[in-house]
């Protein structure tokens, strides 16, 4: 019985390592195709534009709405609490720490996982079942170069831009709510806020966006392209894409926080 258990554990570990190696091979292929993207741009820039339109432009209103709400909530909750201790000026630091350092890239990433990661895995999975991937291969177009790379670039660019919008809207939302309940001059609010904002905060936010966007798109594409025979595999792969993307995003976020803020 112990032998059987040990064998099961051993097989699970070997299986897990194989899957990771398979993903790393895919990752390497994506990076290599990134380098030669310009060569295939004649046929794949359309995919890139569509991805930016779907991931970036169509998610804009949702991102702005959530950012304004979160910025407003932080001010509302924080001001009420900190005012009791006579520390209401700490609110600017909290706003920068919560919105710029953490939530802007994290929430943007989660929204993109829910909208685009999901959509990419589903679309590629269905393309696989309908033999559309085979059609691309028969033409000589690499599915990674034609489908994955433009989608990855599209998601990275969109996440970066949406992150900027989230920051601006979140901070603006903070001022909007504060001026409603506790009127503060626009210039005073933003000058105090900018005094707390450092270059490191901005750089980290940008780095996070780049990494999050890259991994969300690559994981979703990997899962989509791994559908093999039936449409019933598509939702299973989509769920895997979402779960793995969320996990990877959180791990990267923790890693960056440990690297820069400890």
């Amino acid at each position: 019985m112990i032998n059987a258990l040990a064998q099961n554990i051993g097989e699970s570990i070997v299986g897990w390592v194989k899957l990771q190696l398979q993903f790393l091979t895919f990752l390497r292929q994506v990076v290599v195709e990134f380098m030669v993207f310009y060569r295939e741009k004649q046929v794949s820039y359309l995919v890139l534009l569509r991805q930016v339109l779907f991931t970036g432009y169509q998610a804009l209103s949702l991102i702005v709405l959530i950012a304004i709400a979160i910025g407003g909530l932080i001010i509302l909750e924080g001001y009420t609490l900190l005012e009791n201790f006579g520390q209401s000026d700490l609110l600017y630091g909290i706003l920068v720490a919560v919105i710029t350092r953490e939530l802007s890239s994290l929430i943007t990433a989660f929204i993109i996982i829910a909208r685009s990661g999901n959509a990419i895995a589903t679309e590629l999975g269905n393309m696989r079942v309908n033999m559309e991937i085979d059609a691309l291969k028969s033409i000589g177009l690499s599915p990674i170069s034609y489908l994955v790379v433009p989608r990855t670039i599209g998601v990275v660019v969109s996440l970066l831009v949406l992150n900027v919008y989230f920051n601006v809207s979140g901070l603006f939302g903070g001022w909007l709510v504060s001026s409603w309940f506790y009127p503060i001059d626009f210039n005073v609010f933003f000058s105090k806020l900018l005094a707390k904002l450092t270059l490191t905060d901005i750089v980290i936010s940008v780095v996070k966006s780049l990494l999050f966007g890259f991994f969300i798109a690559v994981i979703a594409s990997y899962q989509g392209l791994n559908v093999r025979y039936a449409t019933t595999e598509v939702p299973q792969r989509t769920i895997l894409a979402v779960v793995q993307s969320i996990t990877v995003v959180i791990l990267i976020n923790i890693g960056i926080a440990l690297l820069f803020y400890t």
């Binding site: 085979d134 059609a135 028969s138 033409i139």
Partner: protein
């Protein structure tokens, strides 16, 4: 000139050998029909030539180049000579008809000017009796027959030397079948190398030059149509009988 040579080619799927140690040279400038029962590997052979699948063992050599090459330039060069025409058209569902056709045209015919490309698309639309108004439509808005014909246009528009056709007459209404058969005959007269997998043997057999008979992943025979039809091989005989009994 495009030579296609299989050297000890095996293809495994989920650990099972679908194709087992196949070695043959595809008859050049001829139409070869591939016959076999389900599971014989007859679908895998053209997919290996068309670059959709890569051999698990052995090599498929096209014009002296191994299909496993990772050189982008060589892959493009090989693929520009070969067209695979899918049984369902193989159209990309989120692209319009024109974009689907241009997928291969833009990739392989970069030497053509925009007006030459447009003229070529128009010529093929006329040939297959499709209206110009079909160009912006998505595949979902086409009949199966139209999808098939657009798949043919996408394959033929790059003027390939080797044409691999999976079930050319399936899902086609009578007029489309006639157009497809005309195209196949025209390819024959131009001396293109063609392989066809089809259940409609009564229409394909009379126009075939060679027949490749496969069973359980192995070659039973590859010979001229006359020799295969007069073959004393029991497996070949039974396979042909199976087709006619459908």
């Amino acid at each position: 000139m495009s030579t296609v040579e299989f050297s000890n080619v095996s293809f495994f799927s989920d650990g099972l050998a679908i194709i087992d140690e196949l070695s043959f040279i595809l008859p050049e400038h001829k139409l070869t029909a591939i016959l076999g029962r389900p599971g014989s590997g007859k679908i895998v052979v053209p997919k290996l030539i068309g670059g959709i699948l890569l051999p698990s063992k052995g090599s498929v050599v096209i014009d002296g180049e191994d299909s496993k090459t990772t050189d982008d330039g060589k892959i493009k060069q090989i693929r520009s000579k070969i067209s695979y025409i899918f049984r369902n058209g193989g159209l990309i569902s989120n692209l319009g008809v024109e974009e689907n056709i241009r997928l291969s045209l833009d990739f392989h015919c970069q030497h053509l000017t925009e007006s030459e490309k447009k003229a070529r698309i128009s010529w093929f639309l006329k040939y297959f009796q499709l209206p110009e108004t079909i160009l912006p439509k998505r595949p979902a808005n086409l009949t199966r027959s139209e999808q098939k014909l657009v798949g043919f246009i996408r394959g033929m528009i790059i003027e390939p030397e080797v044409v691999l056709i999976d079930e050319p007459l399936e899902n086609c209404e009578p007029n489309s079948q006639r157009l497809v058969l005309n195209q196949i005959m025209e390819n024959k007269s131009k001396g293109l190398t063609q392989t066809i997998i089809s259940q409609s043997l009564e229409q394909i057999l009379p126009i075939s030059d060679f027949i490749l008979v496969l069973d359980k992943g192995k070659i039973i025979e590859l010979d001229t149509r006359e020799n295969i039809l007069n073959s004393k091989n029991t497996i070949t005989h039974n396979i042909i009988l199976d087709y006619y009994m459908v």
